[in-house]
């Protein structure tokens, strides 16, 4: 799987609400389509996305087949302490991938 694109500030003030943007390259095959010979193409989507901040879950999303290819998420997080933000997503095959970023709270 390709690396995702992530946009988040490196440093934020304590108490500030900031946005994290992530774009994950994924075909999000819906399971509704058929191939050239009419055979159904099996569903293969990212079905779960979890973001933790300092070990604590701060955002979670469940995805369904209506989500378009290459999902692009924007969500807001409140700055508490300097620490690691980990984003993990899991696909229908059970494979997980994660990316982490460090944030400094001043």
């Amino acid at each position: 799987m390709a690396r995702p694109l992530i946009n988040a500030p490196k440093s934020v003030r304590r108490g500030e609400v900031f946005d994290i943007r992530i774009l994950i390259a994924h075909p999000m095959e819906s399971g509704q389509r058929r191939d050239d010979v009419g055979k159904p193409i099996p569903r293969e989507i990212i079905n779960r996305f979890v973001c933790t901040y300092g070990g604590e879950e701060v955002f979670r999303a469940e995805f369904f087949p209506a989500i378009a290819a290459n999902p692009f998420l924007t969500f807001s997080v409140s700055a508490v302490e300097s620490g690691v933000i980990v984003m993990t997503w899991t696909d229908d095959l059970g494979a997980s991938q994660f990316e982490s970023i460090e944030i400094t709270v001043t």
Partner: protein
């Protein structure tokens, strides 16, 4: 003449609310691009009894097809310029003024000087308006520094001159919008020709194309050509974070959701919608484009107004000069039929788009369309693109076909 008189009678009966003077049926064509000019001339040919008026603010039309070659210094701007002399000679009354509003109920066009022009049927071919506000920091003023050059004319020359001033080793950034927009393969032809210019004149400079889409017209052909010809061209699609959301003309910065690019020259092609008059006259819907009946091109919102060209929602048909010309001819026939009390027949329309990737390197896509379920639909298997593996002679031949096509279509539209 008997058929004519019967036709006029039918037309008069079909419009009971309008007090019509005795005389020929009046068709007003609004907008003198490929669509409008072609429609006015065709209507004069097939229905000489109809009085045709063209309203177009500019005395000179600058054609968009091949304007990318002007930007790359491969073509003279004079080759893009056309006037309305042939239309006047055909008996089209040309009013060189801007129109500000269409009163669809009273069937009249209001001109910039306050005058009005009555019509029995209107053919609206207003082209596009640029949605500057969809990209933060972009505006008509910013376009003086970061040209769009998506309406041919002074902007074309500005981009050409700015390109010539890019330092060797510099960076050119192009921003390409999501669908729909004027000339689907146009940004990629432009990217090719800018890359050709840089490769020839500034070998250390590069071009970055930031695209709000992952898929585009003739993509495999373009990308194969870029791979072999232009190592100086980098294309970033939507899933690579290519959608431009903000620009700063002062510092030459182009921003996506994920990155910031510093450009010596930025060419920003913003999202688009139907020409302004379609919006103020309620001919465009919430999409910003004009819904039409695919047989007659009559507006689904305002009876008596037919919309052709880039402004129309033409289903599978792209927004191209060729499509506008094809729609103009079908629409002219439909308007002549309706004025004569006949029912317009179901049309077949063709589109072909040539793109020049380098001098002597042309590629094309063609499609055939028919109305189906209320929209113009691509007839599967009737069109196609240039072969992916073709010898240089084929590419050179297609580049010549493109030139011939331009001569043919501009002769048909402008004489």
């Amino acid at each position: 003449m008997r058929a004519t008189r019967r036709g006029l009678l039918a037309a008069a009966l079909a419009l009971p609310a309008i007090a019509r003077a005795q005389g020929p049926a009046r068709v007003v064509v609004l907008g003198g691009g490929f669509g409008g000019a072609s429609a006015a001339r065709r209507l004069r040919q097939i229905a000489p009894e109809v009085a045709v008026t063209l309203i177009e603010r500019s005395a000179t039309y600058h054609a968009c097809p091949f304007s990318n070659a002007v930007i790359a210094g491969l073509r003279d701007m004079a080759a893009q310029e056309f006037t309305y002399g042939a239309l006047a000679a055909d008996g089209v009354k040309v009013i060189a003024q801007a129109a500000t509003h269409i009163d669809a109920t009273a069937r009249r066009v209001i001109l910039a000087d306050g005058g009005t022009v009555q019509y029995d049927r209107l053919i609206l071919s207003p082209g596009i308006e640029l949605r500057f506000k969809d990209i933060a920091g972009y505006s008509d003023v910013a376009a003086g520094v970061m040209p769009h050059a998506w309406k041919a004319g002074p902007q074309t020359l500005l981009l050409r001159d700015r390109l010539a001033a890019v330092p060797d080793g510099g960076t050119v950034v192009m921003s390409v919008p999501g669908n729909p927009y004027r000339c689907p393969p146009g940004p990629y032809e432009r990217a090719s020709l800018i890359a050709h210019y840089l490769k020839t004149h500034k070998p250390r400079a590069k071009l970055i194309v930031l695209d709000a889409k992952d898929a585009f017209s003739k993509q495999r052909l373009f990308q194969a050509a870029w791979k072999s010809l232009y190592p100086n061209l980098e294309w970033v699609g939507l899933s690579g974070g290519g959608k431009v959301v903000e620009v700063d003309a002062g510092s030459g910065t182009v921003k996506t959701e994920f990155a910031s690019y510093k450009a010596d020259l930025a060419n920003i092609i913003p999202p688009q919608r139907a020409g302004a008059i379609a919006l103020v006259s309620d001919v465009a819907d919430r999409t910003g484009w004009c819904p039409i009946d695919p047989v007659s091109f009559e507006s689904r919102l305002q009876p008596g107004i037919h919309v052709i060209g880039d402004a129309a929602i033409a289903g599978g048909m792209p927004k191209s000069a060729f499509a506008a010309n094809a729609q103009a001819k079908v629409c002219a026939q439909a308007v002549a039929d309706l004025l004569a009390g006949r029912t317009p027949g179901e049309p077949r329309l063709i589109n072909t788009c040539y793109s020049i990737v380098a001098p002597d390197y042309g590629i094309s896509v063609a499609g055939v369309y028919r109305p189906a379920n209320g929209v113009l639909t691509d007839i599967e298997g009737a069109g196609g693109t240039s072969p992916l593996d073709a010898p240089p002679e084929t590419r050179a031949e297609e580049a010549r076909y493109a030139e011939s096509w331009f001569r043919t279509i501009t002769t048909e539209a402008f004489g």
